[in-house]
C-alpha cells in the first residue's frame, strides 16, 4: 500500500520550504521546514504533533468535486452564481467562520457582507 502511494525515494524530487508557517493553532509557528513532493508534504521538521497532522492531512490531489449544488457535482462558475443568487435574495444573510482562511479572503468576506447588507461574524463570538 505504501509503495503504491509513495514514489521510490530515488525518483522523488522534494521541494523544501524553509521557515514555512503553520496555521493550525494560534501560535502560527513560522520556523517549520517542509519537504514536499508534487502531491503531498512528506516531512515537517520542527512542527508539533498537531502541526504535523495538519500538514500531512492536506494534499494537492483532486479528492473532492470542484463544487456541489444540492449535493450534485457542479462547476465552480455555476456554484458561484448560485451562491450570489442566494445571498442577494436573502433579507438577512450571515457570513460566518473566517478562522481557517487568509486575511485576504477575510477582507473579501467583509466587503461581501457589506454589499448584501448582512451580518458578519467569526469564531470569536462562540
Amino acid at each position: 500500500m505504501t509503495t503504491s502511494v509513495m514514489p521510490e525515494p530515488a525518483k522523488r524530487e522534494l521541494t523544501v520550504v524553509k521557515n514555512a508557517v503553520c496555521t493550525f493553532c494560534g501560535c502560527v509557528c513560522d520556523d517549520i521546514e517542509l519537504h514536499a513532493d508534487h502531491e503531498r508534504i512528506v516531512e515537517t521538521k520542527r512542527a508539533c504533533n498537531l502541526g504535523e497532522a495538519w500538514f500531512k492531512n492536506h494534499t494537492a490531489e483532486h479528492l473532492y468535486p470542484d463544487a456541489l449544488i444540492d449535493g450534485k457535482e457542479a462547476t465552480v462558475d455555476d456554484a458561484i452564481e448560485a451562491a450570489a443568487d442566494y445571498l442577494h435574495a436573502a433579507h438577512m444573510p450571515l457570513v460566518y467562520g473566517l478562522s481557517n482562511t487568509t486575511c485576504e479572503a477575510q477582507r473579501e468576506a467583509v466587503w461581501l457582507a457589506e454589499l448584501v447588507g448582512g451580518v458578519i461574524d467569526s469564531h470569536t463570538s462562540l
Partner: protein, 314 residues
Amino acid sequence: MSCTLGEVKNRADFIIYWGGNPAECHPRHFTRYTLTPKGKFIPRGRKDRTMVLVDIRETMSAKAADIFLQVRPGKDFEMLSILRALVKGQRVSPEGVAETGLKLEQLQDLVNRMKAAKFGVLFFGMGLSMTRGKHMNSAAALTLAAELNAFTKFVAMPMRGHGNVTGADVIMRYTTSFPFGIHMGRGYPRFNPGEYSTIDLLVRGDNDATLVLGADPGATMPKPAIEHLKRTPTIVLDPKVTHTSRLSRVHITTAATGITAPGTVYRMDEIPLPLSPPLKSPYPTDEEVMRRIREAVQRKEPWYPVKSDAPQMV
C-alpha cells in the same frame, strides 16, 4: 494591555496560564515563546521564570507549572475579583475565598508573586472566556492585569485557538471598527454580541441565508443552529466536503490555507505572517472564490435604493 510573544520571550519572568491547556492545545507555546527560551533579560531561560496554572482540573500543562491552583468550576470570576481586592490590599470575606476552592494563603501568595514580578503575563484560554461569566471573566482578567501596572509591568493575552481567528478580529476591526458580530443591514456597521453573534442568530432563526468560510459549524454547533442551517440556503467554502457541506445547498472546494493557498495570517499576538505554501492546489483559493461571489453580487440590482447621480460602490 498586551504585548508580542517576542516581548514575553525576552522579558517575562512571571507567567500565568488561566483556563487553558497549552501543553496539548498550543504544544510549542512553552518552548517557543514563554517558558524555556532564553531571552535578552531572561538569560537562564526556564530557571528565571515562574509559571502558574489556574484551571479546574490538573491537565498536562500542570506538569510544566511551578504552582497549580485548582479553582472550583464556574468560580473564575470570584477568584479574579478576590485577587483584585488583594492587589489593592482590601479585606476579603472568608466565605468568598472558600467558594473558589482555594485558601487565602494561596491567593495572597499569588498576589505577592504577581507584584514582585519584573514583567508578568496572564494568558487566558477558553476555560475562562467561554465558561460561566464569559466576557465578564475576560474583562475581570484584563482589569486585574491593568491594575497590576500600578506595581509592575503586567500584560494579558488571550490564547487564540484556530489559526487565523486573530486575523478575523483585526480585519473586521480595521474595516468596520468592530471585531465580530457585525450587522451591515442599515448600510453602516452595528455591533451587538448576543444579537448579531452566529449561534444566537441561528438558534433564533433570524438569518435567511448563510455563507460559511473556513469553519465547520455543522460539526460543532448546537442542534437548533444546525437545523436552521439545513432549513435555509447555506453556502460552504472548504478544502474538504465537511459536515456543513452535506447540509448545504452550495459547496465550493477551495485550496487549503498555508498548504496550497498563499496569503497572510495573524499570530495570537497580532503579528501578521506571510504564508509559504509548498504545494499547488487544483482548486481556487478562498480569496478568489470570495472575490468572484462578491463580483457576481455586484452585477445584480442593489438591495438598497440608489440615486442615479449617487456615487457607486466600487
